[in-house]
């Protein structure tokens, strides 16, 4: 469907890739809703995927007592809700991540504060 308008209705999209210094990546940690919502991060496409676990996520999720217990080799990733297996040695772009992609990770055995999914 489209807008019903008296004249042409054509305006630029505000959030295209060119408008940002780096592509946006959305990241969510399943079962840990102490963090009220997933995060939005501008990340250079040549960032190695493995740098998320070592350099990016500690700064945003490190407050949670579960974070230090994560075994990254067992983390289960998904992209747009579908199971997904990234290669930590390759870059974000080489893993196929594009502007405004959404990825999530599940950390088996860790279900938040007293198992409350917080």
């Amino acid at each position: 469907m489209s807008v019903v308008a008296l004249t042409d209705y054509d305006f630029p999209m505000k959030d295209v890739r060119e408008n940002f210094p780096a592509p946006l990546l959305y990241i969510g940690w399943e079962d840990h809703l102490l963090f009220c919502a997933p995060f939005c991060l501008p990340l250079p496409p040549d960032t190695p995927f493995g740098a998320l676990a070592t350099a990016v996520l500690p700064g945003i999720y490190g407050y949670h007592p579960d974070f230090a217990q994560i075994d990254w080799s067992k983390a289960e990733w998904s992209k747009s809700g579908q199971p997904w297996q990234p290669d930590p040695a390759k870059s974000l772009a080489e893993n196929g991540l594009q502007h405004k992609d959404v990825i999530r990770f599940r950390t088996p055995g860790l279900t938040g504060i007293q198992g409350s999914f917080s």
Partner: protein, 409 residues
């Protein structure tokens, strides 16, 4: 909320000019004047509190800039750009007729119960207008439906859309009711059951003879009554460095009240989180989330809502529009986008605007050493950092509120 009354004034002045029938035209013009007066009266109510409390000095400046205020702002801008008929279905019917009691009654009862006579004075003054506004809404809907059977599907689509947008907007009210009133009146869940499920349910039974059914998101909205106030409070607790009001962890007695009012959800999902946050705060490690959240493209609320039937999982939906991804908090926000993508690709999403560099004061140099983006954004908001924001515990407002309560005894 105050600048919204001004938007309502503009909206009704505009549609009043577009109706040729004198009944709708005069009603819209009268309402336009009412809304302007509400804006003024609310401003007077706020100015009284502005003498004693922080975070009330800059409403108009904040309305165009502060992240969570883009939620009500985008709601109204969506309505006033929808054309006169959609505007009436949006504001006069879906908001004023179906949802307004959820705003006014608990709000005003809450104000009276807590000795906030300034707000009660405004409420009494506005309440008598509301019945007239509701009449405009219901009469225009019935008129549209009677004119042409082809209008039924169009009106139903707008009711589906605007019920959901209004419901999302009321998330803020749910949070205020359950967490912010010093003396609670009723829970959000009780208010929802009384004013939405009972009154609203009866209304849609009444409209069935016109071919109108209850809004598409009705069931999900009813399920949300156990969760949205807790989820919203956690969001403002997370991002309290960036909001010009205070948050706190409820006291033990308040948590018991929440357990009693929310037997299905509070102890299981929300109490452990709040008790953890209290422990951390008391140990001097108060949680402030400083990374920007993912937003829903339609309602512009951070993606804090959970899946229907599973409050442990954030609800994610997405659409592709000419190779660009757009994300949503719910099926209904996704449907609203999919119906008019050309409109919502223009959304001014605060998080994206910050990352595009549009939320710093002119002359700010983000490449300068030691640049703190959060402080630069708060400077652009013109928030008084350390007075308007952060935890209630230890704030100037806490001292002033204690002094006011002492004087009132």
């Amino acid at each position: 909320m105050t600048p919204l009354e001004y938007y309502a004034h503009r909206g009704f002045a505009h549609v009043g000019r577009q109706f040729t029938g004198e009944g709708a035209r005069v009603a819209a013009q009268m309402q336009s004047i009412d809304e302007l007066r509400h804006y003024q009266t609310e401003t007077h109510a706020i100015s009284h509190y502005n003498k004693y409390f922080n975070g009330m000095h800059h409403a108009n400046h904040w309305f165009d800039r502060v992240w969570y205020l883009s939620v009500p702002k985008s709601f109204f801008e969506d309505a006033i750009t929808g054309g006169p008929f959609e505007f009436l279905v949006a504001v006069s019917f879906s908001f004023e007729y179906v949802l307004t009691n959820l705003l006014f009654v608990p709000f005003m009862s809450g104000a009276a119960h807590n000795g906030d006579m300034s707000t009660v004075t405004f409420g009494f003054s506005a309440q008598s207008d509301e019945s007239r506004h509701m009449t405009l809404g219901i009469e225009c809907i019935k008129f549209l439906l009677e004119q042409d059977p082809g209008n039924v599907a169009i009106v139903q689509k707008w009711i589906d859309k605007w019920f959901w947008r209004g419901y999302r907007l009321l998330t803020l009210v749910a949070m205020m009711q359950d967490y912010m009133l010093p003396k609670r009146v009723m829970s959000w869940k009780e208010a929802w059951e009384m004013y939405a499920e009972q009154n609203g349910g009866a209304l849609f039974k009444d409209l069935a003879r016109y071919g109108i059914r209850e809004p598409a998101g009705w069931k999900q909205a009813c399920e949300g009554k156990d969760h949205i106030s807790h989820q919203a409070w956690n969001t403002f607790y997370n991002y309290n460095a960036a909001a010009p009001f205070h948050t706190w962890v409820p006291s033990a007695e308040e948590m018991d009240w929440l357990s009693e009012k929310y037997p299905e959800s509070f102890d299981k999902y929300y109490r452990p989180r709040l008790e953890f946050l209290r422990e951390q705060q008391q140990a001097g490690n108060r949680f402030y989330n400083k990374t920007l959240p993912m937003l829903c493209t339609t309602c512009q609320i951070p993606m804090l809502f959970t899946e229907e039937g599973d409050p442990s999982k954030i609800c994610y939906r997405e659409s592709d529009y000419f190779g660009n991804k757009y994300h949503f908090c719910s099926d209904h926000c996704k449907h609203i986008f999919d119906d008019e993508p050309e409109k919502y690709v223009q959304s001014w999403l605060p998080v994206h605007q910050i990352y595009q560099g549009h939320c710093f004061k002119p002359g700010t140099d983000p490449t300068k050493e030691g640049f703190d983006p959060l402080l630069a954004v708060l400077d652009y908001y013109e928030m008084d950092v350390g007075r308007d924001n952060f935890d209630f515990e230890g704030s100037e407002d806490q001292k002033n509120f204690a002094a006011w309560k002492g004087a009132a005894k």
